[in-house]
């Protein structure tokens, strides 16, 4: 029987939530790595029992954990991420040059074809890859050494590479996004990169609102059937590109606010997308204290609030960029986690929501595996 496994990273450990295809009754396992910040966990699309996890701590640095049995047991693999060469400076908060310093891995993206190959997005921004299941990591330094690197500047949350999208139709093409450098694309497996930020407008964040780099992108998503169509939640603005990021257009439409963090695409409807509007960059909680997921069935512009089962008063949580995901069951499931420790599930594409758990530590990431 089909089922789902939800991988939840929190400020104080990781949790694994499992259910059958009905998605009504859940088993909650964890915390794994209790007390550690678990920025992200993600399973291999090729071998769902192979899961990788980013484990970090302000005291003890960065570790990577690997499971080969679906998250029941874990083994520590290499957590050594070393920038290639002498990492020349990016721009610091005060505008001065600042050397790259490794802090943590924000996002893990297993290969679509090989469970031993994994990409990892780092703060300070860089892309790493392992070909041996995490036993060693090498930087794809062409990204950091892109000529614009000296202009990259951290946002308040750090200079993090948080989004990695592998094109399912072209193994040489990868999209990534960095706060606050922007989006980039490679067509040669990561050797060379091109900024893809035309059409983005950041009038409150950048002195030149249409600069080639510097945009604070919060998250990007694609539907696997249309890898040339990208959706983006920027700091402000929800945008889309229909030409692999060469040009973006704003599709915020009737959203109550277009500030937010996650954006996801329905598993079976490439024009159905989800965001969670947040009041502003100064007040990181839902507008009117109502937790509302917004769904567009037209790829943006026209949005409808989804509220059934979600708190509609006194709600002041945030939903972070990697804390939303979808499953691929016939009736697409949508999931998200909050900084208040709730993980919500909708088993009907967002029409109705129920909390799987209510009282976890602050949720940093949510990923879903659909199990045969």
């Amino acid at each position: 029987m089909s089922g789902v496994r939800v991988l939840v990273g929190t400020r104080k450990g990781a949790f694994v939530l499992t259910s059958d295809g009905q998605r009504k009754n859940w088993a909650v396992d964890g915390p794994f790595f209790g007390g550690w910040e678990m920025y992200h966990l993600k399973g291999s699309p090729v071998d769902p029992n192979r899961i990788y996890a980013s484990q970090s701590s302000g005291w003890f640095g960065q570790l990577i954990q690997r499971s080969s049995d679906g998250g029941k047991t874990w083994e520590q693999v290499d957590g050594k991420f070393v920038y290639e060469g002498t990492p020349g400076p990016h721009k610091w908060y005060d505008g001065t040059p600042h050397p790259w310093e490794f802090k943590r891995i924000w996002h893990i993206e297993p290969s679509l074809t090989d469970p031993e190959v994994v990409y990892a997005g780092a703060e300070d921004a860089a892309l790493f890859r392992t070909d041996d299941g995490g036993n060693s990591w090498q930087e794809l330094a062409g990204l950091r050494q892109h000529g614009s690197g000296v202009l990259w500047q951290p946002g308040a949350g750090g200079l993090g590479l948080h989004t990695i999208i592998l094109d399912p139709t072209n193994p040489k093409r990868i999209y990534i996004a960095i706060s606050a450098a922007g989006a980039f694309r490679t067509e040669d497996g990561g050797e060379t990169w091109k900024p893809i930020n035309r059409g983005l407008v950041s009038k409150y964040e950048l002195p030149d609102p249409t600069a080639e780099v510097g945009h604070c992108i919060h998250h990007m998503a694609i539907h696997p059937s249309r890898p040339d169509v990208l959706f983006m939640q920027k700091h402000w603005d929800v945008t889309r590109s229909d030409n692999s990021g060469d040009h973006w257009r704003k599709v915020s439409g009737n959203l109550p606010t277009d500030f937010g963090f996650p954006i996801e695409v329905h598993a079976h409807e490439p024009e159905t997308i989800y965001v969670v509007p947040i009041k502003s960059d100064s007040e990181h909680y839902p507008p009117d204290a109502k937790l509302r997921v917004y769904r567009s069935r037209s790829g943006g512009e026209e949005w409808e609030p989804l509220t059934k089962g979600l708190p509609q008063s006194n709600c002041y949580v945030n939903i972070l960029r990697d804390a939303m995901a979808v499953d691929t069951l016939d009736e697409c499931g949508v999931y998200f986690g909050t900084t208040g420790g709730q993980v919500y599930c909708s088993a009907d594409s967002g029409d109705n929501w129920t909390p799987i758990v209510r009282d976890l530590p602050a949720v940093l990431s949510v990923e879903v595996q659909t199990l045969a």
Partner: protein, 98 residues
């Protein structure tokens, strides 16, 4: 035999009880002790010292014999009471709330 007391999270990683014992060859310095610790427990590499610079992680401290050795040269011989095994070397995480 050098005795080392590790903080909770590092004991969990290393799968050890509160105290570990190490054979440290040559002059017993902090560097030699940490080298021996990481050789015996490779999962601790990078957790006490930075992988590349081998600098102490900022929120960790080294205490021994009622002294804070955190900012001493890592090549200074450790106190005799540590070398003789009468006192342990403490690896301590900085106090934090939350």
């Amino acid at each position: 035999m050098i005795r080392v007391l590790l903080p909770y999270h590092l004991r969990t990683l290393a799968k050890v009880s509160r105290e570990v014992e190490l054979d440290v060859p040559g002059v017993v310095t902090l560097r030699a002790t940490l080298d021996a610790l990481e050789a015996k427990f490779p999962m601790l590499k990078g957790t006490i010292r930075d992988h590349v610079t081998l600098q102490r992680r900022p929120l960790l401290r080294f205490y021994a014999c009622q002294q804070d050795l955190s900012n001493d040269s890592p090549d200074t011989p450790l106190p005799e009471m540590i070398i003789s095994g009468k006192e342990p070397l403490f690896v301590v995480g900085a106090i934090a709330g939350g």
